[in-house]
């Protein structure tokens, strides 16, 4: 697999799994207004995943859906941060805020890429992400000082570092205002990802080769 495809899959898998987790809040968020807003964020993440898979799919001679759904759990390249099942609001916002901050650094770098297609897609995603960041910052400011939120950020900080390549972590630490610690690196997948994958692919696997 080319380095380009690997990189694209890493990004796409992050966005797909995070989008899947975020979409779990549709219908059950703390307030109705927030439910609608957070669902848009989840949809954008899935949309970004789709665009990234489509680029990778052309390189790999397959389709976006096949990449999203037909690989085994071990083949995903997502970061442990997005795989964690955290269906409580403090941890969801902590993850959202940490991920958006990390992703901003990642997208800044991608927008400067020599690869015109990747740079172009990064720019488009970044324009949507502006609103994700505003939303995350708005919530982080509101929840700052709340013990549930602070504990969640403490817990997720090593995972957040693992989203980025090592050379970008110092910048993340500066933006988040925390000391860099040992990151929880990509590579190992948890049972949580396997459980997610089982549910995510159950309909698709039920009738192999079908069009849905």
């Amino acid at each position: 697999m080319s380095e380009r495809a690997q990189r694209l899959l890493e990004l796409a898998d992050d966005e797909l799994i995070l989008g899947w987790r975020d979409s779990e809040w549709t219908g059950i968020a703390p307030t109705l207004e927030e439910d609608v807003a957070f669902s848009s964020i989840a949809q954008n993440e899935i949309g970004h995943a789709r665009a990234l898979y489509e680029l990778a799919a052309r390189d790999l001679g397959t389709t976006a859906d096949a990449l999203a759904f037909d690989r085994s759990p071990e083949e995903y390249r997502s970061a442990p941060l997005v795989e964690l099942r955290r269906l409580d609001w403090a941890r969801t916002i902590a993850r959202h805020w940490l991920y958006e901050t990390a992703d901003e650094l990642r997208l800044e770098e991608l927008k400067r890429s020599d690869d015109a297609e990747v740079a172009g897609l990064a720019a488009k995603m970044d324009r949507e992400e502006v609103y994700h960041r505003m939303h995350a910052q708005m919530w982080a400011d509101r929840l700052r000082g709340d013990e549930r939120f602070e504990a969640a950020v403490d817990e997720l900080w090593p995972y957040a570092l693992g989203v980025l390549a090592p050379e970008q972590r110092a910048a993340l630490a500066e933006r988040v205002g925390r000391e860099e610690v040992d990151a929880v690196e990509r590579g190992e997948h948890s049972d949580e990802l396997r459980e997610l994958w089982n549910e995510m692919t159950m309909v698709r696997r039920s009738i192999p080769g079908a069009t849905w």
Binding site: G27, A42, R50, W89, W139, V203, A210
Partner: protein, 299 residues
């Protein structure tokens, strides 16, 4: 009936519109709140069977569409509860009464979903039945409700197309996929036939009397059958009612629906009622701190 109320009745029956700050008889306000609250409850409870399938959607496109559809329904509940709140019942009270089993929501949302076939049938037929009811509210005498119905009906238009798309894709697919649709239809037909309620004569229907809705229950059901039975039959699907037919007067005849079941279900004894209300209650309690922290007025 006192003179002021009589005058009000004549006003709304003549097409008059009522705004939030206007005087209205207590009975009108009470009936409005109950009716509109039930609508809000239904949108919110309808989300629960559907959201499971967001997580299981078999393509990225379907995942996006289903998330957007359910998002719209949550958005509708937001619009609806705002109307109820401006009429005098706060949202928190509505949500509490819902999880305590003190208020109602439509029958269809008390039933389980079992397969991707349900996803198609719900978006195609259950939503169609709901849209017919919703269109009958566009001329509601209470103007704030009529206005939100306009946005709601506009957003529902994509839901119908999404539903049709899911169904047609399944019907054009493998035999097992076609079977999914038929099996789901067989289960949903009963609830669909009782969805619009028992046939109450227009002049005995308080909702029509106060011009809250402009269509009687049987008229709505006939409209549903007229629009959708041909769509069902043209795909080679069958309806589990051997007596269903359109007679020479253009009226659809059908087996008597199970009205006892409807009553049992809407009074809180549906197959999924307790489980779903418990789920909502648990999340409401779990995330109460967020509302207390975030919604507290800024210092």
């Amino acid at each position: 009936m006192d003179a002021r109320t009589q005058e009000f009745v004549e006003y709304v029956q003549g097409g008059g519109q009522v705004e939030t700050g206007d005087w209205m008889p207590d009975e009108y306000r009470a009936k409005l709140i109950k009716f509109i609250e039930m609508h809000g409850n239904s949108e919110l409870m309808g989300v629960l069977p559907e959201r499971e399938w967001i997580l299981r959607a078999p393509t990225l496109q379907r995942k996006l569409a289903l998330t957007a559809k359910v998002q719209d329904e949550v958005g509708h509940s937001q619009l609806i509860y705002r109307v109820v709140e401006d009429l005098g019942k706060p949202r928190a009270a509505c949500l509490q009464d819902l999880v305590d089993g003190k208020s109602k929501f439509h029958n269809v949302f008390h039933y389980p979903t079992k397969t991707w076939g349900d996803v198609g049938v719900i978006a195609w037929l259950v939503d169609a039945a709901a849209i017919i009811s919703q269109k009958a509210l566009l001329k509601c005498s209470y103007a704030p409700y009529a206005r939100i119905m306009k946005k709601i009906c506009w957003e529902e238009s994509f839901h119908i197309l999404h539903g049709r798309d899911v169904i047609l894709t399944l019907m054009n697919g493998k035999d097992e996929q076609r079977a999914l649709v038929q099996e789901a239809l067989d289960r949903w037909w009963g609830p669909l036939m009782t969805f619009h309620g028992t046939a109450i004569a227009a002049d005995e229907d308080p909702m029509v009397y106060w011009r809250i809705k402009s269509q009687g229950n049987e008229e709505a059901r006939q409209q549903f059958l007229d629009g959708y039975v041909p769509q069902i039959w043209e795909l080679g699907l069958t309806v589990p009612d051997t007596e269903l037919r359109k007679n020479d007067d253009g009226v659809w005849e059908y087996s008597e629906p199970d009205w006892d079941e409807l009553k049992r279900v809407v009074t809180g004894h549906g197959p999924m009622t307790a489980e779903r209300l418990e789920f909502r209650r648990r999340l409401l309690e779990q995330e109460a701190w967020v509302r207390d922290v975030v919604l507290a007025e800024a210092a």
